[in-house]
Symmetry: C2
Subunit: 307 residues, 2 copies
């Protein structure tokens, strides 16, 4: 058991990320007490049934009282209302952080409402699965993952260092980044892939000439890799699109330009160009596997079979 | 050991698919003799080193002599030249099949050159990994997978039935389909996903504001799922694009229309529409898992970790 890094930790939102945090905090003794708040009474009941915390409330303001660390794990579009709700109840000297997939918007939404005597250190653990809710979480979710912190200039370095120790104790490697750069990086590595995945699954679903059951049956030939991303939480992704709009539109524009050029090569039978494009991308896969960000087993090492 | 289904089997092309066939034929005793041909002396040496067959040649015509079953496993663009090469050497009554990802073009390329006394039954095992070459094959590649046969009207039913038994013995479930319908189905479940994956990986590689090392580092947040497909054999995919052009262009047009509409919803902040699109696609993932075409373990059940 490690020494607790914070005495009392408040988790606002108890979905996949919040509930995984509750589990790792408990398992590794990173806090002495966990208070949990979520707006939905049903979700709160589920968290209570799972025994994720020490106290439970549907009121965020109640959960944050006396908390040394407040972790907001809600869809990014709900950040402002959470900030407003908790601002009057925060303990002086507390650290407030979040786990949202967009950072500039979260700062815009939360910073104006937080009192000057708390340390606001926005964060983003690059971890998740396509499943959601308190039951989907697990204590090793953050192990071997990156966590990006985007502290604003002027924030207390000790607060950042302590939060860094917390994420490291969860198993993550912490990096610091400017919030706007974070949003640009995530737009290409995460937001665009999800949007494209949602889109292709939608296109397939609308076909008249190919039945849905054929799409499902033969999905192992490529399609199914996209469906995992397209099964992610729709509220979370709606909010990501609305709150990282500029970076996403920029990436979409580039993607579409490139696709038009590829499409033209197909139409005009330009085999050399197609070969160039298709060879070029192989090396990135190799680098990802070398960097330990994926496994080289064919087919992602899937074990499951049709029968 | 099953009874051999064919006496002598010729494998033309010995990459991932051809070499997996060699292994399963040997392992399950599906043929008494395996002759292997590939144009590249280097690849042939590799096959010989691996002990994949009983005889080896760089001349396809030599390998098919006396063969009861000829399986052509080459990039689809090479189908016509193989057909021309083997046509004079085929045994009367032999069955000729292939494993290409497009079917109408393969029929167009091969049928005119094959003599009337052989049975031509085009086929497509829906199996593969992102790896290529004789060393990448394995005997269980076809287990629990679909294999689609697209026999032309008028072909000998016994020849189709025998080839069906062969694929079933390899572990596959065989379906019959019209060649044009096959090409439409595969365009959406396989060809479009690969093209989109190649494209997004290319877009990411070209960015000025986000470094390649950042893309690699944070790829687990969505991007890496695309890189698996984008690491597939470039020659194979060049040929697929050139030989299933019409169906692919049709799917690309639909995909782009849908993406423009999604992009517009992002630009204008239409949260309801985004939520609709993103909820809609979740059910397809569920159906794919229920149909046993993927596993429900989060993250495809990947075992590997960063450290």
């Amino acid at each position: 058991m490690a020494t607790p890094i914070y005495d009392r930790i408040a988790l606002i939102g108890i979905g996949l990320i919040g509930s995984s945090l509750a589990r790792v905090i408990r398992e590794k003794g990173l806090g002495n007490e966990i208070s949990i708040a979520t707006r939905s009474a049903e979700t709160l009941d589920e968290a209570r049934r799972l025994g994720l915390g020490d106290s439970y409330s549907t009121a965020a303001a109640e959960a944050v009282r006396d908390a040394d660390l407040v972790i907001v794990s809600v869809p990014v579009g709900a950040s402002e209302s959470v900030a407003k709700e908790i601002s009057g109840a925060l303990k002086s000297g507390a650290t407030v952080t979040d786990v949202g997939s967009t950072k500039a918007s979260v700062v815009r939404q939360m910073a104006p409402h937080l009192p000057a005597d708390v340390h606001f250190v926005p964060g983003h653990p690059i971890a998740g699965t396509e499943q959601s809710g308190p039951s989907a979480g697990f204590s090793t979710l953050f192990e071997g993952r990156w966590c990006i912190l985007t502290p604003e200039p002027g924030v207390e370095p000790d607060a950042v260092a302590r939060l860094t120790r917390f994420w490291e104790a969860c198993g993550s490697t912490v990096e610091q980044m400017d919030k706007d750069h974070h949003d640009m990086v995530l737009a290409i590595v995460s937001h665009l892939p999800h949007i494209i995945a949602y889109n292709i699954v939608g296109t397939a679903d609308d076909l008249e000439t190919v039945t849905k059951s054929e799409v499902i049956k033969y999905s192992a030939s490529g399609f199914r890799d996209f469906t995992r991303l397209a099964a992610s939480d729709p509220i979370m992704w709606r909010d990501v699109c609305l709150h990282n709009k500029d970076a996403i539109l920029e990436m979409l524009a580039r993607f579409s330009e490139d696709l038009s050029s590829l499409q033209r090569a197909i139409r005009w039978g330009d085999g050399d160009k197609l070969f160039d494009i298709f060879s070029h991308t192989r090396s990135i896969r190799r680098s990802i596997v070398e960097a330990g960000q994926d496994i080289s087993a064919p087919d992602f090492g899937r074990i499951g079979k049709k029968d």
